[in-house]
Amino acid sequence: MANVALAALESALRVKKLDRTLTTALPPLEQAEDACAPTGVGSVDACLRNGVPRGQLSELTGPRSAGCTTLLLQMLAAATQRGELVALVDTFDRLDVASMEAAGADLGRVLWIRGQAGGPLDWAIDRAFKALNLVLQAGGFGVVAIDLADVPARMLRGIPFTTWLRVQRAVEGRDTACVLVAPEPVARSAGGLTLTLTGHTSWTGSAMRPRVDGAEMRLRVVSPRRRVDGEVAVRSYEASAYVEAGL
């Protein structure tokens, strides 16, 4: 009897759309055809169900040489190949243009905003966020990325959480996938993805004459609302090794 009454109550609440409260987990977001920006890496896209979500803030995190920059450049390159515009807020001016070109990016579709390599860190970060806000407000970009990979973790944690909320609000409802590159997860957007990368450089050749062959990347995907959690391995190649392998 009690179950019947409970079911009736839930049904009535559902009709009135009052069945969701702060303590109830929201249902997974539905993915439209064009709701994601593919990364351009087949295995990653398969795991992410077609890429990073648009209108959300996603994160690429990992230590040095884990492959964050490689994946970011692939993502930007894939967007430019689709005819989209992309923007990179390069907080400390770390972009290697040759690497971006090697990733296959149409450089004419890339808006590169270069921060200052020297100077106080907080000043550089502040300007990077202002630039990010301007780009997001302007709209029209498929992917907008901010590179905070070289910000010390202590300083990254010191960024007020409201900053990430503001970024999330700025990108919400837009056709833009916002991507943050950082050494550790900080933004933790509910609608976005967190890709935690671990990896190492792979070597080839003899012990006396070794050379860099590429990198083995492992991605762990965390997404609160998109049910795409999992792990994926990606093999990348050093530019010259790529040519030698005939790929």
């Binding site: 087949g42 579709r109 808006l111 905003i113």
Partner: protein
């Protein structure tokens, strides 16, 4: 009814145009001394054709011009008559061919040359046709007009037919009125000098609105925006903005000027503001339903201007590779995206089912993933311990780059360049900075190593061979 004015040699062309414009807005400037004008409807104002011609001549004389005036049914007839006869010549409507009949053939050649946009193209052909007519024994326009058109076409082609039509006084094209050159400029004298950009923004807004309306009326856009600020110090602060695309939105133009003035503020208070634009035909946009629309040039310009004001001049744009072996060489290009051509070889991965397909339809079996380098724009000085010619330990004083024992090292790869140029500086730091970016013409000579240190990070090191100094160039990431 059409008229023609033919001024004496040495006359001022501008004065002649002014005289013609006093009588009709529909004028066609055929040359520095020759103007045709549509006189339809003037008879109600001045009387018959002779009265109009007399008034034209009198007005020209008042301006110090000696002109011949001819009025005929067609502009061609009027031009020919004005060139041939002094004073006033009147031919009634419908009698153009008769009026032109006694005129010499060479007159037509002169008119053809004067009316051609590119005389060099037509000189030879027209001279040939004129010579052919003369060989046939023809001396006047009436004789040419009387020839059978089919026979002329058979012997001289379409050019001969055109000659014959002109000889009959028929116009080759309708009148295309010459539009007076307009100045797109607005100025405002201020009652009190203003100092600061905020009050100036209101002034600019007041100037930009009518300027944009003027541009819109003429279907023009601004290609270059000139701002002249007359200062209380009697100096003039001038700025010119070259716009990436024709635009006329007053808010965008005002924003661009303000952002530019933020970077280049006037040194004193402003007395007078003048805004002028170089007009250009407005943009014609064709949007596509199938591709993602790009931001408009106004949006892009405003965004780039804001970013330049925030980050500094030249710190935002599109990256561009340069033709150089110098490690890390690049250049910045203006960010001016263009619409992607439709039907390109790039497809969108659609839905989950599309996952795993390559984005570039180039026949590759898997997407290309190439390891990227994070490059330190200014190479980080490092202390490197070398044993048996190979680096075994690297440390730096830069926080965040701890370094450590080197597990694996690959190298050296020696690169050098610009050694033929004058050596730039002698300091190690200067050469390290020149190992890339700030001095593109400085020489470099270095050995590069890729090393993986104990914490797992892989760095690219290089040793400046001249100074035997080590630097970290970047991180493979």
């Amino acid at each position: 009814m059409n008229g023609a004015l033919y001024a004496a040699a040495g006359s001022d062309p501008a004065q002649l145009v002014e005289v013609a414009r006093e009588f009709s807005p529909r004028i066609d400037v055929c040359g520095p001394r020759e103007i045709t004008l549509d006189l339809s409807g003037l008879s109600r104002l001045f009387g018959d054709a002779r009265a109009i011609a007399g008034e034209l001549r009198r007005t020209a004389a008042d301006r110090g011009l000696q002109v011949r005036v001819a009025i005929a049914g067609s502009r061609t007839a009027a031009r020919l008559l004005a060139r041939h006869r002094a004073g006033i010549t009147i031919v009634d409507d419908g009698d153009d061919a008769q009026g032109l009949a006694p005129l010499p053939l060479e007159l037509l050649l002169a008119v053809r040359r004067a009316g051609s946009l590119d005389p060099a193209d037509h000189d030879d052909a027209d001279a040939g046709i004129c010579a052919a007519f003369r060989r046939w024994g023809l001396r006047t326009l009436g004789e040419v007009a009387a020839l059978p058109a089919a026979d002329v076409a058979a012997r001289l082609g379409q050019a001969g037919v055109q000659w014959q039509r002109l000889a009959r006084g028929e116009d080759a094209r309708p009148l295309v009125p010459s539009v007076p050159e307009e100045r797109f400029e607005q100025a405002l004298d201020l009652e009190w000098p203003i100092d600061g950009l905020e009050p100036l923004s209101f002034v600019l807004g007041r100037l930009m609105e009518p300027l944009s309306a003027h541009l819109e009326r003429r279907d023009r856009g601004a290609a270059v925006l000139h701002v002249r600020l007359h200062l209380v110090s009697k100096a003039v602060h001038e700025r010119s903005l070259e716009l990436p695309a024709p635009m006329r939105d007053p808010r965008t133009l005002r924003t661009l000027v303000l952002l530019d003035l933020e970077s280049h503020p006037p040194p004193a208070a402003i007395d007078r503001v003048v805004v002028a634009v170089d007009p250009t035909p407005a943009r014609v946009l064709q949007y596509s339903l199938l591709t993602r629309p790009l931001p408009s040039p106004e949006q892009v310009s405003t965004l780039v201007a804001r970013l330049n004001a925030l980050m500094g001049e030249g710190r935002c744009g599109s990256p561009a590779v340069v033709d150089s072996w110098r490690p890390g060489a690049f250049s910045m290009a203006p960010f001016a995206p263009v619409e992607a051509p439709s039907g390109g070889g790039v497809g969108r991965v659609g839905g989950v089912g599309g996952v795993g397909r390559t984005l570039v339809e180039s026949g590759e079996s898997q997407p290309r993933v190439v390891v990227a380098l994070r490059r330190f724009r200014f190479a980080v000085p490092a202390r490197v311990l070398v044993e048996d010619g190979r680096p075994v330990r690297v440390t730096t004083e830069r926080s965040g780059i701890t370094g450590g024992c080197i597990d694996k090292a690959a190298g050296p790869w020696r690169t050098s360049g610009q050694w033929w140029a004058e050596p730039f500086g002698l300091g190690v730091a200067g050469k390290a900075g020149g190992a890339g970016r700030s001095e593109p013409d400085s020489p470099w000579d270095r050995d590069e190593w890729d090393v993986t240190v104990s914490d797992g990070a892989t760095y690219r090191l290089f040793r400046e061979r001249d100074a035997n100094a080590w630097f970290i160039d970047g991180v493979l990431d």
